[in-house]
Amino acid sequence: MNKKNNLSVLLNGIIKENPTLVLILGTCPTLATTNTVDGAFGMGIAALCVLLCSNIFISLLRKIIPDSMRIPCYIVIIAGFVTIVKLLIQAFLPSLYATLGVYLDLITVNCIILGRAEMFANKSPVVKSALDGLGMGIGFTLSLCAMATIREVFGAASFAGIAIPFMQNYKIEFFTKAPGGLLVYGLLIALIYVITKGKAPAKTSFSCQGCPNAATCTIETCSKKGENA
């Protein structure tokens, strides 16, 4: 993993290992905040900031943090950055703060951030971890925005709050509700799978390569361990 060059680390998170649509991480904020483009973009950027900072910090501290206590340490670091981001948004973007609500706090337990800390930042140098955090954050933001665009345009006939005139009578409210979110999410995952066929992890095989969580998997006793390399 450390042999990859910096550019591929950055691009990895955007398409090949897109956290939302390929690794299927962070589904809770994905489903909850994508009914408006505003909310999705805000969520993406907030998570990106936290991910970038926490990746850098965890990478810096990776030699100090004892292995048995790593998860609590990660949580404390991540929660610290979430608090900073939350207070900043509350102070400067109160409307976004109202939109995101509790999901802003929930970034702390976002699987993407903890997952990248566990699988990448704790065994990679600082620059690479930062790039990984940036790439994953951009990938997260992009997929959130793509989903939110579909849901808002079809569900509310508007884009980022701007009404689309000729679609006003043809709203499909379904898309702004939770089942619509699940439907769009499933369709996008299928679409990415078709587009990246051969590049995205092959899910047909049952080795670690086929498992979307292989990268974050820490079961040391697993007989399939190592096939992932």
Partner: protein, 306 residues
């Protein structure tokens, strides 16, 4: 390839029936109720049926074209899906919503899962549920309410008489009101051996028994509850779909009892006035498990010793 050199696995005797033939039979069985629907609700119902059928066939053809698959519209299954979908919609529904429903039924439920025979749930039922969730508030308000097309009597205060319910001259979806025409279609399917009696009879009986107890042992109101709403079209035409219902007799009975009980639970204790489509959808999802539990013992084999 000549048929002499063609190697096939058993069974070797072909009954002569084809998918297209069966679909054609079901469509014929649906004709009486379609005619009744058009007579009761007017030409507007015909427009809904036409739009649903044409868009279903169109979407399937388009999907096969784009994904470079063999063209499958010749088996009439898309026509049937469109017809069933239309019969489950009120006549005053905006036509663009019919197109969206057809898109959902054919592309999302059927084609994306691999086409006919691979769909997990019945496309028409799922599209109906989708439209109920998607357009619930719009479908009623979008058109001027005329005397006939309106809410299902299940949500009305006073139930129509049994004769009215039997002939279908009351509000509801295009194909669900005329019980007489639905029974004619069902008998045709039974005679042609397209369906077996298990699912329709057990389904309707379960709802009747449940309603009988629920209504305090009043057979007349139980009967009117059975004949209103989408129970007959659901039990005869939707729940008997080969792909999404169990294949064994006992499996069918379990399926039908489950659907009947769920229908009553949703009708009498849920927030929606009608529960047939939800019940069938739910039992569709359970079908693989029911099929597994009721699997026949293969002749000459033993159960594995544990």
């Amino acid at each position: 390839m000549s048929s002499l050199t063609k190697l096939t696995i058993s069974p070797h005797i072909h009954s002569g029936r084809s998918t297209a033939g069966i679909m054609r039979d079901v469509i014929i069985a649906l004709l009486p109720v379609s005619v009744a629907g058009v007579l009761i609700f007017g030409l507007r119902a015909l427009a809904v049926i036409a739009v649903c059928v044409i868009s279903c066939v169109g979407f399937e053809a388009l999907f096969n074209l784009i994904t470079k698959k063999d063209q499958t519209i010749g088996d009439f299954s898309a026509v049937l899906t469109g017809l069933l979908l239309a019969l489950n919609l009120p006549a005053n529904i905006p036509l663009w919503q019919c197109v969206i429903g057809a898109l959902f039924a054919i592309i999302v439920v059927k084609c994306l899962f691999g086409g006919i025979g691979h769909n997990l749930v019945n496309p028409a039922i799922t599209a109906r549920v989708f439209m109920l969730v998607a357009f619930g508030s719009m479908a009623v308000a979008a058109f001027p309410v005329d005397t006939v097309a309106g809410a299902t009597p299940l949500s009305a205060e006073k139930m129509p008489t049994l004769i009215t319910l039997f002939l279908g001259n009351y509000g509801g979806a295009i194909g669900e009101t005329c019980t007489l025409a639905l029974i004619i279609g069902g008998v045709y399917l039974l005679v042609r051996k397209v369906i077996t009696w298990h699912i329709p009879v057990v389904f309707i009986l379960t709802v009747f028994v449940f309603s009988f107890f629920y209504k305090g042992f009043d057979a007349v109101s139980a009967l009117s509850l059975v004949m209103s709403g989408g129970l007959f079209i659901g039990a005869i035409f939707m729940a008997t779909d080969y792909v999404t219902s169990p294949a064994t007799a006992w499996g069918k009975v379990i399926f039908a009892v489950g659907a009947g009980v769920l229908t009553c639970l949703i009708r009498y204790y849920g927030t929606y006035p009608e529960g047939v489509s939800f019940a069938i959808l739910f039992m569709n999802i359970l079908t693989p498990y029911i099929s597994k539990w009721t699997k026949h013992k293969v002749f000459g084999t033993q159960e594995a010793v544990k």
